[in-house]
């Protein structure tokens, strides 16, 4: 059974058709990429899957369940986690608190009668994730004071703390140096399996290096889908990208 399935998913903004009847399937443990020129509808498609935007028509099926009508936070509880193209963290909380608060969402929201430090298991989990995203020695720094690349990692860490089964990464290497991007790509590779990862990327090299399968969006429609080699050989893709 696929982890994620989009059925004839569409998004219209007035007369503009941003995403047009896209069918999409992701199997468990896969590392998938969505690429395409600017304005191809990648982020819009992502937003519909994560619940940030309501779909105009079509369905989003997650683990066999129709989640089209569910809001972002409900989808998060089902096991969908996402990051944003523009870094989206809690700037005036510390690194550790950023991750801890995300982990807490699996336990409690309205608990008002205990103290935060009492919840040792959340702190342990946060420490473990902070270690994993290599920010352990900055765990007490305010997130807003971190360097750009570190903030991108922190955002992935926040998402990991919610125990997602499907990780949606929106341009995780945006604004990074080539060296940082390469490292990040390796890091993402280590996340896939047991997790399922879908990433939207601009950087073709990154995508080609790590993806199991690639989907090319163009003008809101799927132009091509296949393995790295198939995409490389695809004439349609070459035409779109060369013209871009």
């Amino acid at each position: 059974m696929p982890v994620l399935e989009a059925r004839r998913l569409s998004k219209h903004f007035g007369g503009l058709i941003a995403v047009n009847r896209v069918d999409y399937r992701v199997e468990p443990g896969e590392l998938r990429s969505i690429i395409g020129p600017n304005g191809a509808g990648k982020t819009t498609f992502f937003n519909m899957i994560a619940g940030d935007l309501p779909a105009t028509s079509g369905q989003v099926i997650f683990k066999g369940q129709d989640v089209t009508k569910l809001s972002t936070f409900q989808r998060s509880h089902k096991g969908l986690g996402r990051t944003y193209q523009i870094t989206n963290i809690f700037p005036r909380l510390t690194v550790l608190e950023n991750v801890r608060i995300a982990a807490q969402s699996r336990k409690t929201t309205f608990n008002m009668w205990t103290a935060v430090p009492r919840h040792r298991e959340l702190l342990d989990k946060a420490e473990e994730i902070v270690e994993r995203i290599r920010l352990a020695d900055k765990r007490h720094h305010l997130a807003g004071t971190l360097a750009h690349g570190e903030q991108r990692y922190l955002e992935i860490g926040i998402t990991l703390a919610t125990d997602p089964e499907l990780l949606l990464l929106d341009e995780p290497t945006a604004g990074m140096s080539p060296e940082e991007s390469r490292q990040t790509a390796e890091f993402i590779r280590t996340l896939a399996n047991p997790l399922t990862v879908v990433l939207v990327e601009h950087d073709m090299e990154i995508v080609m290096g790590i993806s199991d399968r690639i989907t090319v969006l163009h003008n809101g429609e799927v132009l091509a889908e296949g393995t790295v080699d198939e995409i490389r050989a695809d004439t349609d893709v070459r035409r779109v990208y060369l013209r871009d």
Partner: protein, 419 residues
């Protein structure tokens, strides 16, 4: 100074480090202790003046009387206490959830009116069932305070349902508009609320379970009653803010989109915060009418909402006790200007103008508020000290990594989640 002769001078920095730690750790206890003995201090001052007069030490008596003009009286301290607590309740929203409500007068007023109406209705021959009046005669203030909590919670639910789904300035405007609905209702139904004259005639309020009389005749008893009730409520708020829920509030303030993505139902969190803040504010309003023994309509007017915003920003919305500091500054300055300064310069009778001016200065130059500025200063000091004690700046120069053998208090470095 200089590292070569370290023991020549008084160790200023050590002392400051010690002082800041003590301030952090024991500040609240010292404050509570001071408030607990305040009426005794003030009574002691009055007593000394009388003794000096009796002994014909005119100079001393006069000096002490002048001093008394600059010391807040017990009734003024009652006002300061109430608004300190009101500000802390209000700050659940402003400082923690990041919601700017301009409608807290609704809760403050409704809390007061509830107590006022209970005391004029629950009497024999007003058509209220006998068992109710009987219970009320035994426990009047207890029952009316609990009723005030319930009623203001319901009002907060109603306003919150409509307003908390909106964000930023729309939220502020909606709370303002909805609170004014209550003001006009209070004005229109003047047979119940007393209209612009206020709901008066609340003499003989008593705490049934302790058989204590509170009100204008017993300033000290009223002071202690309010001190204890507001103190307990403040402790509750403190607990809520340090709980996991309090952390969720700050997450919503920091980045609502991210909080929702983490799986938090932020609309419900906002509504819940609003109801909590409104309910605690309703209790503040209920306490506020006890000493004056009447409910002035100003309590439900927009001006009260403005006051609590000013008080909170004076002291610092980013700190827990900021509103308490703000309340003291606001009421003390107001009193000082209109009774003491005005003796020397008539223009001080327009105290609103001066308080407004100070407010502008604080917003411009001390945006963190008085306590917030002290707090930031403490943090900066600790950061510098951490560097001196062998911490090193990271490559980006934005934070400090401190070795583990540095004393724990200093190791807290640049981490401030609140301000």
């Amino acid at each position: 100074m200089g590292p070569d002769r370290p023991h020549d001078r008084f160790p200023v920095r050590e002392f400051r480090a010690w002082f800041f730690d003590a301030f952090d750790r024991y500040g609240i206890i010292i404050l509570a202790g001071f408030l607990a003995v305040y009426p005794a201090l003030f009574a002691g001052l009055n007593q000394s003046i009388r003794l000096a007069e009796d002994a014909d030490w005119e100079g001393l008596a006069e000096a002490l009387a002048t001093l008394r003009g600059f010391v807040p009286s017990t009734p003024l301290m009652i006002q300061i206490l109430i608004y300190a607590y009101f500000g802390i309740a209000f700050n659940i929203l402003l400082g923690n959830a990041g919601m700017i409500s301009l409608g807290h007068s609704a809760f403050f007023g409704v809390g007061g009116y509830t107590v006022g109406l209970m005391h004029s209705w629950f009497k024999p021959d007003t058509g209220v069932p006998r068992w109710m009046t009987d219970t009320f005669v035994r426990l009047p203030l207890e029952i009316s305070l609990i009723s005030a909590l319930v009623v203001s919670a319901l009002v907060a639910l109603a306003i919150g349902k409509l307003a908390s789904a909106k964000r930023g300035v729309y939220f502020a405007m909606l709370t303002l508009a909805l609170s004014q609905v209550f003001y006009y209702a209070a004005q229109t139904f003047d047979t119940i609320t007393g209209g612009t004259d206020g709901r008066g005639g609340l003499a003989n309020m008593r705490l049934g379970s302790l058989d204590l009389r509170v009100g204008i005749m017993d300033a000290t008893v009223t002071y202690y009653f309010i001190f204890i009730v507001a103190g307990i409520a403040t402790a509750l708020i403190w607990q809520i803010l340090r709980s996991p829920f309090g952390q969720v509030l700050r997450a919503v303030r920091e980045n609502e989109t991210r909080a929702r993505n983490c799986g938090y139902d932020t609309n419900r969190v906002r509504l819940c915060a609003f109801i909590l803040s409104g309910t605690f504010s309703g209790l503040a309003g209920a306490l506020a009418i006890i000493y004056g023994e009447s409910v002035p309509i100003e309590n439900i007017h927009f001006v009260t909402s403005g006051q609590v915003v000013i008080i909170t920003l004076f002291g610092g919305a980013g700190t827990f006790l900021g509103p308490a500091v703000g309340s003291f500054i606001y009421w003390y300055l107001r009193q000082l200007m209109s009774t003491e300064f005005v003796k020397y310069l008539a223009i001080f009778q327009y105290w609103e103008m001066w308080v407004g001016g100070i407010f502008i200065l604080i917003v411009l130059f001390v945006p963190a508020g008085i306590l917030g500025a002290i707090h930031n200063w403490t943090m900066e000091f600790r950061l510098r000290r951490a560097l001196e004690l062998g911490g090193r700046r990271d490559e980006a120069g934005r934070g400090v990594t401190v070795p583990q053998d540095v004393p724990a208090a200093t190791r807290r470095q640049d981490t401030d989640a609140r301000s």
